[in-house]
Amino acid sequence: MSVPVASERVLTDDQIRQVLERRAKELARTSKEDVVQDFSEFIIVTIGLEKLALEIRSIQEIQTLRGLTSVPGANDVWSGVVNLRGRLLPVLDLARTLGIPSESRETNNGGRIVVVSLGQYHMGLLVEDVLGVKEIPNGSIRPSLVDSSSQAREIISGITADMISVLDLNALASDPRVMIQE
């Protein structure tokens, strides 16, 4: 009858605004926003044959390993400490922590240290090499493989399509071997 016709012809200011807002919202829901939400940036490092992804927001810097001093009495997952601009940074041997065979572990030089900040802890993670930064879609990370060791399973939160293990740094920091209770 007449009401719809009238409404088609003459929209109130309110109605116009509502329509415009709805359209604006639809337009605003772009794929760009999807990217921001569904991708995370990772640093890709290598140990032996393995590639590992470390979430970038916990990472402070990457250093070349120089002058590692072991700490007697510390658990063997700890490589020791390095002098990072006058600060003594504890260095965790990531290969040993994850149970990954690595050749460069025993050598004092040649590795890289990824300096991470996890809550109250600052520590360096000793790796063999750093490949670069990579964006990984969140959805593409799948549960880790069954055959990984039990130590690693706690710490590795998943695996990507191209076989990069994604590390859960918080799980790493709360690992009983990393914590020292004496």
């Binding site: 072991s70 007697p72 009495g73 020791g80 390095v82 003594l88 504890p90 914590m179 004496e182």
Partner: protein, 907 residues
């Protein structure tokens, strides 16, 4: 605005707290001095000081609305006013109340500053003070005072003022039972006193104060309000400045000091008081209160800020050392460039020769005009151009070498200058954190006095070395252990006066607290001449408490058994007294001291006394460490923990209960490789090779341990940084330090290391201990004995040489003597010397040089050398070790046993 005002008040009260604590300290000192002062002038001075301090304290507190402090302060002021005027005498009870009042004021000031409710109820204290004020002299000094206080002044002065005094005192003697009324009456008779001071029912001491003032001014007719309402210290000064009229004499009897009357009236009372008092200390301890207030401008800085400063200085130091490293790199580069330059010069002459030859030949060829020579010609030309270019290049190179050399030289001098400034800066910052240890010692006379009184003993406390400076952190933390040791000394260590007399000792026990610098450490000794610790009772007690088995205890050497007192759960006195803690014993003291990176030791002789020695680092900012090598790794050990560095021959290593052990100071101590003690496997030199090895003798409280190392790299002042979590929980590691090269070196926690090493050891000793009677004897390859060994004593001092000679000869050795290293070396060529005891500082050839010479020579390289030095610096020790000395003895502590023990060990 109100908020601002509140803030201001809060700040003022906070400032007041600091001031109040200082004044209380002053008051404590002066009161302690008063308690045992006998010189009348001194007594008068002290009373004046106390009166003034109490008055100021009262006034300030009143101004800030701190009523409780004001009340206590006022009552104290009254008591001292009466003391000053001689109306009351001193008594131990009175001093007790005064001390309690001072404590209360301190507590009140603290709670006020923190904005907390008042922590103390002052009413009982005010009452107690009032009672003292209300008591006429007759009561306080029951027997002799009447005659003295009443008669002597009058007899000697015959003055109006003292007659008034005389009149009043018999009065007070007549009515000792009703002191309040009496003073009330006096007050009432003094009509000129302002009525506002007579606060009814509140405290009768106020009326006494008024009465006193009124009496003072009766004849003076002065304006009493002046005295009442203005600062009384001013009033006192004014009074003493008055002309020597009758009135002035009257006033002077209170204000004392300048007037002879005052000096004569006061004399005997305090002396008498002192006699009845337990004398807690000597006047040497407490400086004259008024002298102690040296005006030194200071500001308060939070220690946190100083810590940051210190850290930054350490960073700067690292940066400087890095820069020095760069310098070394530049120097290396310069060397390479110089080598290049030299090479070039050599080649250049060759090149010139070639150039000349080809040049002349080309000229020749050219002249002949043969075909094809054109090509050669151009070659020659380009060769000549090339030589020219090379030549200019060489010049560049030479210039660069010159510049680089200059640069290195400047860099070098800059860096040296910087090192100097840096060292000064670091030292300066370190010093900011340091305070004289007297700031802690100051509170001890009072503590000892109170403790002595509560156990009814007479103690004479002597404090020495309070001027030695220590880091604030250490100062704060060393107080508790010292308090404990002092209380222990008074409570358990010293005997009662009767017992002492029976033992033929002076009634008064002697308690000595000494601080002294020993190398990089501060040594604090608490020593008393009491009954000593009965080592057998210690054994019994330890066995009873299940610390070890009967057998193990019996087998334990005395000194080791003595150290049992530091074990947790040990206390020799079975009854728990109020003073020395309940179950909190020497183990806590030990823990505290070790927590500071120090060590504790005890020496006791039955019937003679006991001495506890605390060895502490003086600074926490930097630590002097000895850097040692274990295989390829380096470790640092705080020098505080190192007792000696020794070279040990395999023949000296024996077995003790299945473990390697050596003999040290006459007792066996376990020997372990440092690396294996640190849980890193054996790295140190193999003992079976027959070479002598280096060992560090470390100690902490009851334990001595020898750790073998591969090398000793020297002592170094370092900044010890704690490890970051979670590595900060690693035992055996106290932290780490970054050396000049940027290398990180772990600093060993010696106390922890010994604990973990000896737990194992102790368990072993307990299971096997006592199984054989010689279990504490080292089973060692027997030392062959023939004719007495020949010992060479080298010292440029005739006295020392003779002393050493007599000691050594008395022990049955033969000796030869030399006045310096060179003479010694000559003697060594001809005489079959078996051991050398040498001084370090000598003309012609010093001890280090002699040692090095001995080590270099094939015939003498195994000859044992003992260095005797006057300086006990770790650097010197390290140098001695480096030179190859087998042992190191400090001259100051040159004890017969030490020397002979060492000789015996080395031969």
């Amino acid at each position: 605005m109100a908020g601002d005002y509140g803030d201001l008040m809060a700040k003022l009260i906070e400032a007041f707290e600091g001031e109040a604590q200082e004044r209380i300290q002053e008051l404590n000192k002066a009161t302690l001095a008063l308690e045992q002062a006998s010189d009348p002038a001194e007594v008068a001075d002290l009373i004046k000081v106390i009166f003034r301090e109490a008055h100021t304290l009262k006034g300030t507190a009143g101004g800030l609305g701190l009523k409780s402090i004001e009340r206590v302060g006022h009552s104290m002021e009254t008591v001292f006013g009466l003391l000053r005027s001689g109306e009351i005498g001193t008594s131990p009870d009175m001093f007790d109340v005064i001390y309690r009042s001072l404590d209360a004021i301190g507590d009140l000031a603290t709670s006020a500053a923190r904005g907390q409710a008042e922590s103390v109820d002052v009413a009982p204290l005010v009452d107690a003070l009032n009672q003292i004020a209300a008591k006429p002299k007759a009561i306080n000094e029951p027997e002799t005072q009447a005659a003295e206080s009443g008669q002597i002044p009058s007899a000697e002065t015959g003055d109006d003022g003292s007659k008034k005094n005389k009149k009043k005192q018999p009065g007070s003697k007549d009515k000792p039972v009703e002191p309040a009324q009496e003073s009330q009456q006096t007050a009432e008779s003094a009509r000129s006193s302002p009525p506002k001071l007579l606060i009814p029912g509140k405290s009768n001491q106020k009326s006494v104060a008024t009465a006193e003032l009124a009496t003072a001014h009766e004849s003076n007719d002065g304006n009493i309000k002046d005295l009442e309402e203005e600062d009384q210290s001013i009033a006192v000064v004014r009074a003493t400045e008055l002309p020597a009229s009758k009135a002035a004499v009257e006033v002077a009897t209170q204000a004392s000091e300048k007037s002879t009357v005052g000096a004569q009236i006061t004399p005997d009372k305090p002396k008498k008081a002192v006699e009845s008092v337990v004398k807690p200390n000597e006047s040497t301890v407490v400086p004259q209160a008024q002298q102690a207030r040296a005006p030194e401008e200071s500001i308060r800085v939070s220690t946190g800020k100083l810590d940051i400063l210190m850290e930054q200085v350490a960073e700067l130091q690292t940066a400087r050392i890095n820069a020095e490293q760069r310098l070394t790199e530049v120097r290396e580069m310069l060397e390479r460039v110089e080598a290049w330059d030299i090479e070039w010069r050599q080649i250049r002459s060759e090149l010139w020769r070639m150039g000349l030859t080809s040049g002349s030949s080309s000229g020749h060829v050219h002249a002949s005009g043969e075909p094809g020579n054109l090509q050669i010609n151009s070659d020659v030309r380009s060769f000549q151009n090339l030589s020219l270019f090379l030549e200019s290049n060489a010049n560049h190179l030479r210039n660069s070498v010159g510049q680089l050399t200059g640069l290195v030289r400047n860099f070098d001098s800059d860096s040296r200058r910087m090192a100097q400034v840096m060292a000064d800066l670091q030292d300066g910052v370190r010093r900011i954190r340091m305070l004289p240890i007297s700031t802690v010692f100051e509170t001890f006379p009072r503590l000892v006095r109170d403790t002595a009184r509560s156990v009814n003993k007479e103690v004479n406390l002597i404090i020495k070395g309070g001027e030695n400076e220590v880091d604030r952190t250490i100062l704060e933390q060393v107080k508790a252990p010292l308090v404990h040791l002092l209380r222990n000394a008074v409570d358990h260590g010293l005997e009662s006066s009767e017992k002492r007399e029976a033992a033929g000792k002076p009634r008064q026990g002697r308690l000595e607290l000494t601080a002294a610098q020993r190398g990089a450490n501060l040594q604090v000794e608490v020593s008393e001449d009491g009954g000593g610790i009965d080592v057998n009772r210690v054994r019994e007690s330890a066995v009873r408490k299940g610390l070890l088995t009967q057998e193990a205890a019996a087998a334990m050497p005395d000194q080791e058994a003595m150290w049992l007192i530091f074990r947790p759960g040990f206390s020799t006195k079975s009854e728990v007294t109020d003073l020395s803690g309940r179950g909190v014993g020497l183990d806590v003291v030990r823990e505290n001291v070790e927590g500071l990176g120090g060590m504790i030791d005890v020496k006791s002789e039955l019937g003679v006394g006991t001495t506890f020695t605390l060895t502490l680092p003086m600074s926490v900012a930097t630590t002097l460490v000895m850097i040692v090598e274990c295989g390829t790794r380096r470790f640092a050990l705080p020098v505080t923990n190192i007792l000696r560095i020794m070279k040990i021959r395999p023949s000296e290593i024996g077995q003790l209960r299945g473990r390697a052990a050596i003999d040290f100071e006459g007792r066996p101590i376990a020997l372990t490789q440092l690396s294996s003690a640190l849980g890193m496997g054996e790295t140190a030199a193999d003992l079976r090779e027959g070479k002598s090895v280096q060992a560090l003798i470390v100690g902490s409280a009851d334990q001595r341990y020898a750790f073998l190392v591969d090398g000793i790299l020297g002592a170094q002042e370092v900044v010890v940084k704690s490890l970051l979590p979670p590595l900060d929980r690693v035992r055996r590691v106290a932290g780490a330090t970054i050396l000049g090269t940027g290398e990180v070196v772990m600093v060993v926690n010696v106390a922890d290391l010994i604990r973990s090493s000896s737990m194992h050891n102790l368990a072993f000793a307990m299971s096997k201990g006592g199984s054989s009677p010689q279990s504490s004897e080292i089973v060692r390859p027997s030392v062959k004995t023939s004719e007495p060994p020949l010992v060479l004593c080298v010292d440029d001092s005739f006295t020392t040489r003779t002393l050493v000679k007599s000691i050594v000869e008395a022990a049955g050795y033969r000796t030869k003597q030399a006045a310096d290293g060179l003479e010694a070396w000559n003697i060594l060529q001809t005489e079959p010397i078996q051991l050398v005891v040498t001084d370090v500082n000598m003309p012609r050839m010093d001890g280090f040089e002699l040692t090095k010479t001995i080590r270099k020579n094939l015939q003498t390289k195994d000859l044992p050398v003992i260095l005797v030095t006057s300086l006990d610096s770790p650097e010197e020790r390290a140098e001695g070790v480096e030179a190859g000395a087998d042992a190191h003895i400090v001259k100051g502590a040159l004890r017969q046993e030490d020397l002979l023990e060492t000789i015996k060990r080395l031969l």
